[in-house]
């Protein structure tokens, strides 16, 4: 089975956002970057599929040299090969998806796995975009995946429950927490990852379709009212919710 995993490099969740001088992007100084957590579920699922069906797992990322770090992590987890599609400009999901889809077309995977969203731009688009560009079916926000022959049964999280989606290989799956428990890279894996080559390729970039005008921090919320320090405050809280907030 040919398994392709998309991985992204994102600021860790504790990051404090500081707007860069261009007024449009985050200032990367002092930020710890990490493998997008949802991509870890995708990578784990790919490795499990390889254990079951044999084959290879290729991890791929679009970005600058800094993305090598997350590709190394994917290798350390057990991916066979890593490819960096080199690009130094910030682009929208559409442009990133186009670069990934171009590579995927050439590689012709049986399955593509990626996180349901990257936790930087929270766009939730790349999986669906690439699937459509490749003419493949897709299932997003997947928490359970079964493959038998070329039949795919995936459960995706929706409001109020789970949708059981039937599809066929080749397919694009976007991973949600709950799909599996990602493994920690072993020491051996980390050592091997250091020796593996990351293939670098140039891309023919397409224009972004969504232009960023500004990045701002949300206005700090005015400090709320502390109504009290014990149960005696409850009647006042209920009054405020009724009369001031009018939400009950």
């Amino acid at each position: 089975m040919k398994i392709l995993i998309f991985v992204n490099h994102v600021p860790d969740t504790e990051t404090k956002v500081k707007v860069a001088a261009d007024g449009k992007t985050i200032d990367p100084a002092g930020i710890n970057f990490m493998l997008n957590p949802y991509d870890e579920y995708a990578a784990e699922e790919g490795l499990k599929l390889r254990e079951r069906f044999s084959g290879e797992v290729v991890a791929i990322s679009v970005g600058g040299d800094t993305h090598k770090e997350v590709l190394r992590k994917a290798l350390a987890m057990g991916c066979d090969k890593a490819v960096l599609l080199k690009d130094t400009l910030m682009r929208d999901s559409y442009a990133v998806a186009r670069a990934l889809a171009d590579y995927a077309k050439e590689y012709s995977p049986d399955i593509v796995l990626c996180g349901k969203q990257s936790i930087d731009y929270d766009d939730s688009q790349v999986g669906g975009l690439v699937a459509e560009m490749l003419g493949m079916p897709s299932v997003s926000v997947v928490v359970k995946l079964e493959i038998n022959g070329n039949v795919v049964v995936a459960e995706r999280e929706v409001e109020g429950g789970r949708e059981v989606v039937h599809s066929k290989l080749p397919v694009v799956i976007t991973a949600q927490k709950g799909l599996n428990q990602p493994r920690y890279p072993s020491l051996k894996g980390i050592m091997e990852a250091k020796r593996k080559q990351i293939e670098e390729r140039a891309i023919s970039p397409v224009e972004s379709k969504v232009e960023v005008l500004s990045l701002k921090k949300p206005a700090a919320k005015a400090h709320g009212k502390i109504v009290g320090t014990d149960a005696s405050a409850v009647p006042e809280l209920v009054r405020l919710l009724r009369e001031e907030a009018k939400v009950i």
Partner: protein, 324 residues
């Protein structure tokens, strides 16, 4: 100019977010002298279609096919893209629901259109729609414009107001889109509903509990408060990871993003990952014994005290108020 609002339904009933999307489209349309057509896709939806008129759609386009009863990402994408083409619509709004987020990227590729996802505000400047969307888990807000000829936006549920229903009827127009078996590359065969409980993603009121509740059985008082308020029960990541609650209740970065009218956080300290999922709630109440807990920095009302004492008192007070 034409604007299309994708009006989502499930089981042949409009979802609340359908009306939010139609209304938001109408507000934009009024500033651009444009007209809104709502689009309803499903198995048996003609009878409900007219309802979208009450929220500002001048006409409602219905695509009805028994095979579209259940969601299919591939078939729905074909239908929606085809209608956008037929209408020569230049702006399209989707809900940022699980269906909308799945569908909209596929449609955008078919039309070579840019998509601004999960917007929380829209404005019109110089004849152009500028959308605001949260990034970095809500710690940043991007203003964006879409540069392609067809411009697409998905709107975060519960953020835009549907407004009051007006006594307006819309022209309902049925369209046929021919679909072959090949168009159904992925189909939702069944929906496993999580019992009868309310889902945090759709609830207007949420009562969430965190690790400060000390043990899973103490969620009983959260459930009681929630049931008094007709609310959904939410949970912090810590209690989901500990196995006390199921993941579908988790609010936050690796759970669901919610924006209810009222969010009551009980014994939740308010890690940035949790705040990411609920900070756009309209009113936030925090109950926590630690006065320095970050949750108080975004709460509208707080009680610094013992949840075990305050929550049952709150439930009792609300019950008393109801009986009046």
């Amino acid at each position: 100019m034409k604007i299309i609002a994708f009006a989502e339904q499930r089981n042949n009933r409009f979802k609340k977010t359908a009306f939010e999307v139609v209304r938001a489209a109408k507000i934009v349309a009024d500033q651009l002298s444009a007209e809104v057509a709502a689009l309803v896709v499903g198995g048996n939806v003609s009878s409900i279609a007219g309802e979208a008129g009450a929220y500002g759609a001048a006409k409602v386009i219905v695509v009805e096919d028994a095979r579209l009863e259940n969601y299919s990402t591939t078939a729905y994408a074909k239908v929606v893209a085809e209608i956008i083409r037929q209408e020569s619509a230049e702006i399209v709004f989707f809900p940022g629901s699980s269906l909308g987020k799945d569908l909209s990227p596929r449609v955008s590729v078919k039309l070579d259109a840019g998509l601004a996802a999960e917007c929380t505000a829209l404005r019109v400047e110089n004849g152009e729609v500028i959308a605001t969307r949260p990034v970095y888990a809500g710690k940043g807000l991007l203003d964006v414009r879409v540069q392609s000829r067809v411009k697409m936006f998905s709107l975060r549920p519960n953020v835009f107001s549907a407004g009051a229903a007006a006594a307006m009827s819309a022209l309902v127009e049925k369209r046929n889109i021919s679909l072959t078996d090949d168009d159904f590359g992925a189909v939702a065969k069944e929906i496993k509903t999580s019992s009868s409980k309310k889902d945090v993603a759709e609830a207007d009121v949420i009562v969430s509990g965190g690790r400060g509740l000390k043990a899973p059985e103490n969620f009983l008082m959260i459930e009681e408060l929630a049931s008094t308020l007709n609310a959904a029960v939410g949970a912090s990541r810590a209690v989901v990871d500990a196995g006390w609650r199921s993941h579908d209740e988790q609010v936050g970065q690796t759970g669901k993003t919610v924006a209810p009218s009222l969010y009551i956080a009980v014994a939740i300290s308010g890690a940035v990952q949790h705040l990411a999922g609920m900070s756009s709630s309209k009113f936030i109440v925090a109950i926590n014994k630690d006065k320095d807990a970050p949750i108080f920095s975004i709460a509208d009302y707080g009680i610094v005290g013992d949840a075990f004492e305050i929550v049952p008192a709150l439930t009792a007070e609300l019950k008393k108020a109801k009986e009046k």
